[in-house]
C-alpha cells in the first residue's frame, strides 16, 4: 500500500532518483572523519535557522524593546535561555568550524582545479557567515553589542569614497536608532540567510559534481555517503551539539545592560573571534597608516591571496605556499587573539570596566521584575537607580578627595601623574593621596565609633590636601586661618581622651552613643533601648573620668545643640557655630550638607568642600544621597573593597617609591 503510494509519488516527482543521488554518492577510499567539517557547518547553520526562527517569534527590533524582549526570552520564557544559548554558541562554533573547514580544504588541496569555483563559493559563504555574526551581535541592543557594533559601522565609514553612504545605509541614518535595528534584523534574519542558502545550494551542487577530494584512494574500499559517511558526519554533529548544549545550559548567553548612548562603555570589545582584528588595529604601527589600512586594506589583501590560491597553486611550490600561508594565518590569528586576552587581563582599567558592566547587567535584571519595565525601556531603570548612578556620581564629583572603600566608587583606584624623580622631564603614575574621609563606611557603627573615639585619625586624610598645607603654612606665619584640623579642635580634644573614653565605665556608654547615632542616621537594625540610652548620654552629662566629665562641654548637645532631633535646617543667623548634627547621616542631613557644606550650620568658614547645589542637578543629588544612605535594595554584588590595597600603596608612596603598580 505504502509502496504503491510512493510509486505514485515518484512517478510524479522523480524523488527516488534525486534521493539516491544524494544518499549514494561514491566515496573512493572509504568514509573518513576528515570529511565531516562541511557537514558540521551545514548542521550548525540548520540549528541557527531553527533556533533563529523561534527566537524571531519573541524578538522585537526597536530601541525600546530589543533588549527588553531578549531579556524576556532569556529570563522569563520557557527554555528561552537554552534556545538563545544554542543560537549564541552555535554561531561561535560556526566561525570556528569555518576556519577548520577552510584550512582543511587548503591543506588537502581541495581548492585546486577543477574545484576553484567551489572554493570561491565557500569564501563567499564565509563572508556571509561573518556578516551574520556581526549583525546578530547588535540585536540584543545591550551595551556590549551596541558599542562593539558601532566600531564596525565606523570602520565601514572609513571605506574610501563611499564610506559615509555605506555607513548610513547600514545604520538607517546618520546615527543609531530604531532603523539600525530593523535593518540589521532584516539583514540577519532575511537577506543574509537567504543568500547563504542560495550559495550553500550552489556550493553543495558543485561539490557533488566533483566529489570529495581523496588524498588516498587506497585507504579503504570505496563506499557511499549513506550510511558510512553519514554515520561519521552525524557523530561529529552530535559532538558539536553536545558542546553547544553544555555551553547553553551551564554558561547562559550573556546579556549586558541595555544600550545607553549617554553611558560610555569602557569594556567594549568585539566578539572573541574578531578580537585578532581588534588587537591588530590596536598596534600603534598599524594605526600609524590610518584606520583604512589596518581595518580594510590588510584584511582585503589577505582575502585576495586566499581568493587567488587556486592560481597560486599552478606555480611550482604554489600549493606549498598556500598551505604555509593558511598555517601562518592560523598562528597569527590565534596569537593575536591570545594577546588580546592577555593584554586585557593585565589592564586594571579594563577589568574594572568589566566589573562595572557585570554589576549593571546584574542590576538591571534585578530591577526589571521588581519595578516592571516602563514603555521607554529598561535603560530608564538604570538611569534612575541610586545603586547604579550613585557610584558614577561619586566618581565624578567626590573621588578627587574622598574614597569609597578605597576606590573611586566605581571600583577603580584613583591615580595621578607626577614628575618622575628619577627621569627629569618625564611623569610617573602614582596613587593619588586621599584628601578626605573614606565614605565607604559612612553612617555605619564603624564610622560613628571612629568619629567619636578616633577623630584625629578619622579625618587625617585632610593633611594631604593642598588647602590643609596652605592653611598650615599661613598659620605658621602667625595669621589666623579658619580650617578643619583633625588634630587641634574641640572635637579632637574630646575624642582624644583615650583613657577616659576607653575606661570600663565609659565603654558601654560609647556603645550606646554609637547606637543612638546610627539610629539618627536611619539604620534599620537598631537596638532601641541602647539607642535611647545613647540619646540621654548625648544630651546629658553622665560620663565617668575627670577629663571627660570635668570638661565644661562634655556632652554632644553642649556644642551640637540640635543633636537627637530629626534633621532641622538651621539658618545661618541661628547656627550655634558647631556642625549641625540633627539627623546626622540621614538623607535629609546629607542632602543639606552636600548641597551647601559652607553653610554656618555645617562647616561654615572652615569648609573646603565645594557646594554641590550648583554643581549637580536636583535629581543627581537625590541619586547620590539615596545611594550613600543605602536607600535601595539589591543582591547585586558591589565592587570589592580596595581599602587595604590603597593603604599599602599610600604607604609605598609615602616611603618614596617612584612608580606604583596599579
Amino acid at each position: 500500500m505504502i509502496r504503491k503510494l510512493l510509486d505514485w509519488f515518484d512517478h510524479r516527482t522523480g524523488y527516488r532518483e534525486k534521493l539516491n543521488e544524494a544518499l549514494y554518492e561514491r566515496i573512493p577510499g572509504g568514509a573518513r572523519w576528515r570529511y565531516v567539517w562541511g557537514s558540521t557547518l551545514v548542521f550548525t547553520f540548520t540549528v541557527q535557522v531553527i533556533t533563529g526562527i523561534f527566537l524571531w517569534s519573541a524578538y522585537s527590533p526597536s530601541t525600546f524593546t530589543a533588549w527588553e524582549s531578549v531579556y524576556y526570552i532569556q529570563e522569563m520564557m520557557f527554555l528561552g535561555s537554552v534556545v538563545r544559548g544554542i543560537h549564541h554558541y552555535s554561531a561561535q562554533l560556526m566561525v570556528v568550524l569555518l576556519g577548520i573547514h577552510l584550512m582543511q580544504v587548503v591543506i588537502d588541496g581541495a581548492y585546486r582545479a577543477p574545484r576553484e569555483v567551489n572554493f570561491w563559493l565557500g569564501l563567499i559563504l564565509m563572508q556571509i557567515v561573518l556578516g551574520l555574526a556581526l549583525t546578530g551581535y547588535l540585536l540584543p541592543w545591550d551595551q556590549k553589542g551596541y558599542y562593539a557594533t558601532k566600531v564596525s559601522t565606523n570602520i565601514m565609514g572609513a571605506t574610501p569614497i563611499i564610506g559615509q553612504q555605506l555607513q548610513e545605509l547600514a545604520q538607517g541614518g546618520p546615527s543609531y536608532g530604531h532603523h539600525t535595528l530593523t535593518r540589521f534584523f532584516a539583514m540577519h534574519a532575511g537577506i543574509l540567510p537567504g543568500l547563504l542558502v542560495a550559495f550553500l545550494v550552489l556550493h553543495i551542487y558543485v561539490f557533488r559534481r566533483h566529489g570529495v577530494t581523496v588524498r588516498d584512494p587506497q585507504h579503504a574500499p570505496e563506499t557511499t555517503f549513506w550510511p558510512d559517511q553519514v554515520l561519521r558526519d552525524s557523530v561529529a554533529c552530535l559532538g558539536v551539539l553536545a558542546v553547544i548544549l553544555l555551553l547553553a545550559i551551564f554558561r547562559s548567553a550573556e546579556i549586558s545592560a541595555p544600550a545607553d548612548v549617554s553611558e560610555p562603555y569602557a569594556a567594549a570589545r568585539p566578539e572573541w573571534y574578531f578580537l585578532f582584528l581588534f588587537q591588530f588595529l590596536r598596534f600603534e604601527a598599524v594605526e600609524h597608516f590610518g584606520l583604512a589600512f589596518g581595518a580594510i586594506y590588510v584584511p582585503s589583501a589577505i582575502m585576495t591571496v586566499v581568493v587567488l590560491m587556486p592560481f597560486i597553486a599552478l606555480c611550482r611550490g604554489g600549493h606549498r605556499f598556500n598551505v604555509v600561508f593558511v598555517w601562518m594565518m592560523a598562528v597569527a590569528i590565534t596569537g593575536l587573539t591570545g594577546l588580546a586576552f592577555y593584554v586585557d587581563s593585565q589592564d586594571a582599567n579594563h577589568q574594572a570596566a568589566i566589573a562595572e558592566a557585570d554589576r549593571d547587567a546584574h542590576r538591571v535584571r534585578e530591577l526589571a521584575p521588581q519595578q516592571g519595565i516602563p514603555p521607554a525601556g529598561a535603560v530608564t531603570l538604570l538611569r534612575s537607580d541610586p545603586y547604579t548612578q550613585g557610584p558614577r556620581l561619586f566618581a565624578k564629583h567626590c573621588a578627587m578627595c574622598h574614597r569609597y572603600n578605597g576606590h573611586d566608587g566605581r571600583g577603580r583606584l584613583v591615580m595621578e601623574s607626577i614628575p618622575d624623580p628619577d627621569n627629569p622631564g618625564r611623569t610617573v603614575k602614582v596613587v593619588a593621596w586621599p584628601q578626605a574621609a573614606d565614605l565607604g563606611t559612612f553612617r555605619t557603627r564603624e564610622w560613628m565609633r571612629s568619629v567619636l573615639t578616633d577623630y584625629e585619625n578619622h579625618f587625617s586624610a585632610f593633611r594631604d590636601a593642598a588647602w590643609f598645607q596652605a592653611a598650615q603654612q599661613l598659620e605658621a606665619t602667625g595669621k589666623s586661618v579658619a580650617y578643619l584640623d583633625p588634630e587641634y579642635s574641640e572635637m579632637a580634644d574630646w575624642s582624644g581622651e583615650k583613657d577616659d573614653l576607653g575606661s570600663p565605665e565609659n565603654l558601654p556608654k560609647i556603645d550606646a552613643l554609637v547606637e543612638f547615632l546610627v539610629q539618627q542616621a536611619g539604620a534599620k537594625d537598631v537596638d532601641e533601648d541602647l539607642a535611647a540610652q545613647g540619646l540621654a548620654l548625648a544630651t546629658q552629662q553622665d560620663w565617668s573620668g575627670t577629663a571627660v566629665s570635668d570638661s565644661s562641654e562634655a556632652t554632644c548637645a553642649s556644642c551640637h545643640s540640635t543633636i537627637g532631633q530629626a534633621f532641622v535646617d538651621v539658618p545661618d543667623d541661628k547656627a550655634d557655630g558647631y556642625p549641625n548634627l540633627s539627623g546626622y547621616g540621614s538623607s535629609a542631613w546629607l542632602r543639606s550638607f552636600v548641597a551647601d557644606p559652607e553653610a554656618a550650620q555645617h562647616y561654615g568658614e572652615k569648609n573646603r568642600m565645594p557646594e554641590y547645589a550648583d554643581r549637580v542637578t536636583e535629581q543627581e543629588l537625590d541619586l547620590l544621597v539615596r545611594w550613600m544612605t543605602g536607600d535601595f535594595e539589591t543582591d547585586t554584588e558591589d565592587y570589592p573593597s580596595l581599602t587595604e590595597r590603597l593603604q599599602a600603596m599610600v604607604q609605598q608612596r609615602r616611603a618614596g617609591a617612584g612608580s606604583v603598580d596599579e
Binding site: 523561534f54 531579556y71 520557557f78 549513506w226 550510511p227 558510512d228 552525524s234 551539539l241 516592571g372
Partner: protein, 187 residues
C-alpha cells in the same frame, strides 16, 4: 540501482551485513537526534504561552462614575476600564485602558456588559433608534438587557460583576470571555 552501489559491502565478508545494519541504525538514530534536539527545544519554547499560563483572577476596577450619574432605565453608557497596572510580556504599563463596558441602571441596580461580542470579539454598539446592542461585524444583536435577539451570537452578552466601593464609585470585575462558546468561560 541504489542497491547496486551498497550491495558490494555485504558480498566481501560474512559479518559485513550485520555491521552494515548497525551502521545504518546508528547513522539514522544519531541523525535523528541531532535534528530533533534543536527542533524540539525550539518547539517547546514556542509553546511558552501554554506552558506558563497564568490563572488570572480579575480584580474589581473602579470606574470614574457614580451610580447617580446614570439615568434609571436610561440609554446605556460606554465607559473605558482603566487599570492601574497592566503587564504585557516584558512591559509594565500604568493607568492604561484594557477595555470598555456598557453600563445601565435598572431600578437602582447598575448592570455592566463587556462591550466585546461573544460571537467573535468585535465591539458591540448601542443603537438608539432600535433600542438594542448591535455588532457591526456579523450582525449579532442583543436587547438592552443583553439577551440575544438573533441566532448569530452563541450566548447573551457577557455581564460583569458590579460593586459600589466605599467612595460611592462603580467598580466592575473586568474580564474577557472565550468567544464562540455557548458557555461563558473567562480567558
Amino acid at each position: 540501482m541504489a542497491e547496486d552501489t551498497t550491495g558490494d559491502d555485504g558480498a566481501s565478508t560474512t559479518d559485513a551485513p550485520r555491521r552494515g545494519f548497525l551502521t545504518v541504525a546508528v547513522a539514522a538514530i544519531t541523525s535523528a537526534i541531532v535534528g530533533a534536539v534543536p527542533a524540539v527545544t525550539g518547539l517547546l519554547f514556542f509553546l511558552d504561552p501554554l506552558i506558563r499560563r497564568k490563572a488570572g483572577g480579575a480584580n474589581f476596577v473602579r470606574l470614574p462614575l457614580k451610580p447617580e450619574a446614570l439615568e434609571d432605565d436610561g440609554p446605556p453608557q460606554q465607559v473605558k476600564v482603566i487599570v492601574e497596572e497592566n503587564v504585557d510580556a516584558w512591559n509594565t504599563f500604568f493607568n492604561v485602558p484594557v477595555g470598555s463596558v456598557w453600563l445601565r441602571k435598572i431600578a437602582g441596580q447598575v448592570i455592566a456588559f463587556n462591550t466585546l461580542c461573544p460571537h467573535l470579539g468585535c465591539s458591540v454598539d448601542y443603537r438608539p433608534a432600535e433600542q438594542d446592542y448591535y455588532c457591526p461585524c456579523h450582525r449579532s444583536a442583543f436587547d438592552l438587557d443583553g439577551k440575544r435577539t438573533n441566532e448569530i451570537p452563541p450566548r447573551d452578552m457577557d455581564t460583569l460583576d458590579v460593586k459600589i466601593d466605599e467612595d460611592g464609585f462603580i467598580t466592575v470585575q473586568y474580564q474577557e470571555f472565550r468567544t464562540v462558546t455557548e458557555e461563558k468561560t473567562p480567558v
